[in-house]
Amino acid sequence: MDWKIDGDDKTWSVRLRSEKNNLFVDRLQAEDTEVNQDFSISYDESRGSIIIESLGRVYRAEATKVGDAWWISLGGKTHIVRERNQDSTSSDMGEGGLTAPMPGTVREVLVKTGQRVREGQPMMILEAMKMEHQISAPEPGEVSSIYFKEGDRVDMGEILISIATQDSSKSPGPD
């Protein structure tokens, strides 16, 4: 199985094998590099925890699947590990689109189509949960489209504004 961890660019591949009541790792790869490390895995049903033993250390983790992502609590922190989808496209940011971080209402549009913006320049003010959130330009460029006007309701993930950057043709696409 192939995974991507939030906050990390690499693809991690794991192949497991089961023996009696335990699982073992046959192969672990970060991109093309194999990680030579032994893992033994068991499950603590009473607490809903996965127990991993590796290099003499014991890790206790809790994992819950939400959509196509595993939410994993490990060492007092929560991580999100997603199934790597082969035909996934790059993020909206790479294509110069800015998406609504959550559902809300457009309070104010601060730029016009065709306007040049500098990095960090405020472009739109979104109101959600009675708080204002500023949508700023992630990089310098030119506003190519504005998809909403003041007072419009937007859903989470909807593209609000597109920016054409100087080298948008070379923006990072799917690998």
């Binding site: 906050g7 699982l23 499950y43 996965i50 809790e62 929560t78 109101e127 959600a128 949960m129």
Partner: protein, 517 residues
């Protein structure tokens, strides 16, 4: 249900309390109502029909509708619910109608007992300008500031600029009817005045329907210290020491503690006395909080008085051994306070972290989604006040606060360690939270040392990303979870995994359906 025995001597006894709220505070108050031998009535709207607080009530009344305005914020709907359930008292919790003087009036006029201060006290303290005048009259120190009356279409900027120049930069713009950080903006220099004013008045209008703005000098490196006060109908007013709420992010409190590391016994009695004066000035009754800013020179200034139970009341409960909700019920029945000022002590140190469904990596935007798993910490000295459990959903309809984790320990250093440990035990999947952020704050040098000022969080760096060796382990865990079939145990709001009677997510008798290898 009959009036309980402890209330027999009371002048305004009651037997059945409607809690006009939801979430953790409704759970907290409904628990106390039952502990005091009273009947608890919960209310819920159509988005809340399976919410946790309903498990703690003897009767639940539906408020038809999904929006707040026609349900939790509707005085008519709440009063109808009280009538339908036969409740003879109303506890407002915090937020919603708790600081609406008109509601306090209407509850009383309907012949019900209002568990809170008089409508007059709420009115005076709810209007920042009148509150300030009342404090000046009562010789309670106030921060330099001026109020601006915004009249319709006239451009407010000239008079705003004049007031700002008089007060001095940097300054704070506050909507008179604002609160909780909404409708409040910091202005560093004159040229930012227009933009910040527009933002403040918009936020205030959206949240409270009042556009009046107050200009106030911003005290840098100041601490937010608040004094819990309690007053009865027999002219007894006491204070229950201070809480330090200096660790804030954008004026929202994140970590609160009692006692404050910046307050010594003599300052405590000075501030306590000022808070008692403030309460007396408005003939206060019940639980209230007087907020002060404490400058680095040891001067303190009145900020505002919150005429309700505070979110952070548990830290006061832990160090004083008092139950503030029990006391509210008793005072509302007309009984005298159970303790005198000389009997109020401080035992150890208490600290609270507010757990919010928000994502530090996106600038703390609220995070919505299913609460796929929520295991809360336990152990000696750990208290968790929450209103959600596994299977619930976080939506934009309600406040994003999920829970409060409160610890009690012998001293401040051990309270910090205990809270950090307690937070590390939380398992929360499905929505992002500020847990990691809180933990970093707790162990930061500036917090674990002398404590922080309210500017602290604006100075912090973003949290670090996962370390390299951990990533391999995480992908192994994800593969193993898949192989173990844990994804088939995914829960929803209607799942039977949550125990319907206790609402407890970690019910030991639950089993996960899964395939073992």
């Amino acid at each position: 249900m009959a009036t309980p025995e402890w209330m027999m001597e009371a002048t305004t006894p009651f037997s059945s309390v409607l809690v006009a709220n939801r979430g953790e505070i409704a759970v907290r108050v409904l628990r106390a109502v039952r502990e005091c031998g009273l009947r608890g009535v919960a209310v819920y709207n159509d988005l809340d029909s399976n919410s946790m607080h309903l498990n703690f009530a003897d009767e639940k009344i539906r408020l038809p509708g999904e929006d707040l305005a026609s349900t939790y914020l509707s005085m008519d709907a709440i009063l109808d619910a009280a009538r339908a359930s036969g409740a003879d008292a109303i506890h407002p919790g915090y937020g919603f109608l708790s600081e609406r003087s008109e509601f306090a009036d209407r509850v009383t006029q309907s012949g019900l007992v209002w568990i809170g201060p008089s409508a007059d006290a709420i009115r005076t303290m709810g209007d920042k300008i009148r509150a300030r005048e009342a404090m000046v009259d009562a010789s309670v120190p106030v921060i330099p500031g001026k109020s601006i009356e915004v009249s319709g279409d006239e451009d407010p900027l000239p008079q705003l600029a004049a007031a700002a120049a008089e007060v001095g930069y940097p300054l704070l713009l506050k909507a008179s009817a604002g609160g909780g950080g909404k409708g409040m903006r910091m202005v560093e220099e004159p040229k930012r005045l227009r933009a910040e004013y527009d933002a403040a008045s918009r936020e205030a209008t959206a949240a409270f329907g009042d556009g009046t703005v107050y200009v106030e000098r911003l005290l840098r490196r100041a601490r937010h210290i608040e004094i819990q006060v309690f007053a009865d109908r027999h002219r007894n007013v006491i204070h229950l020491n201070e809480r330090d709420c200096s660790l804030q992010r954008r004026h929202q409190k994140v970590i609160e503690e009692a006692p404050s590391p910046a307050v010594d016994p003599s300052l405590r009695s000075l501030m306590g006395e000022a808070a008692v004066q403030a309460a007396r000035a408005v003939d206060y009754e019940g639980a209230g909080t007087v907020e002060f800013l404490l400058s680095d020179k040891g001067e303190f200034y009145f900020l505002e008085m919150n005429t309700r139970l505070q979110v952070e009341h548990p830290v006061t409960e832990l160090i004083t051994g008092l139950d503030l909700v029990h006391m509210q019920l008793s005072v509302a029945a007309g009984l005298p306070l159970p303790v005198k000022q000389s009997e109020v002590g401080i035992s150890g140190h208490a600290m609270e972290a507010r757990l919010y469904a928000e994502d530090p990596s996106t600038g703390f935007l609220p995070s919505i989604g299913p609460i796929a798993r929520f295991d809360t910490p336990d152990g000696p000295g750990i208290r968790v006040d929450t209103g959600v459990r596994t299977g619930d959903e976080v939506t934009t309809a309600f406040d994003p606060m999920l829970a409060k984790v409160i610890v009690h320990a012998p001293d401040r250093a051990s309270a910090i360690r205990r809270l950090d440990q307690a937070l590390s035990q939380i398992i929360l999947h499905g929505v992002r939270s500020n847990i990691g952020f809180c933990r970093e704050m707790l162990v930061s040098d500036s917090f674990s040392g002398p404590g922080v000022t309210t500017d602290h969080l604006d100075d912090m760096d973003p949290p670090p990303r996962p370390e390299e060796p951990l990533k391999g382990i995480l992908s192994v865990i994800a593969s193993a979870a898949e192989r173990l079939g844990l994804h088939r145990a995914a829960v929803t709001r209607d799942s039977s995994i949550v125990d319907q009677h206790t609402g407890h997510p970690g019910d030991p008798f639950r089993t996960l359906s899964r395939n073992f290898p």
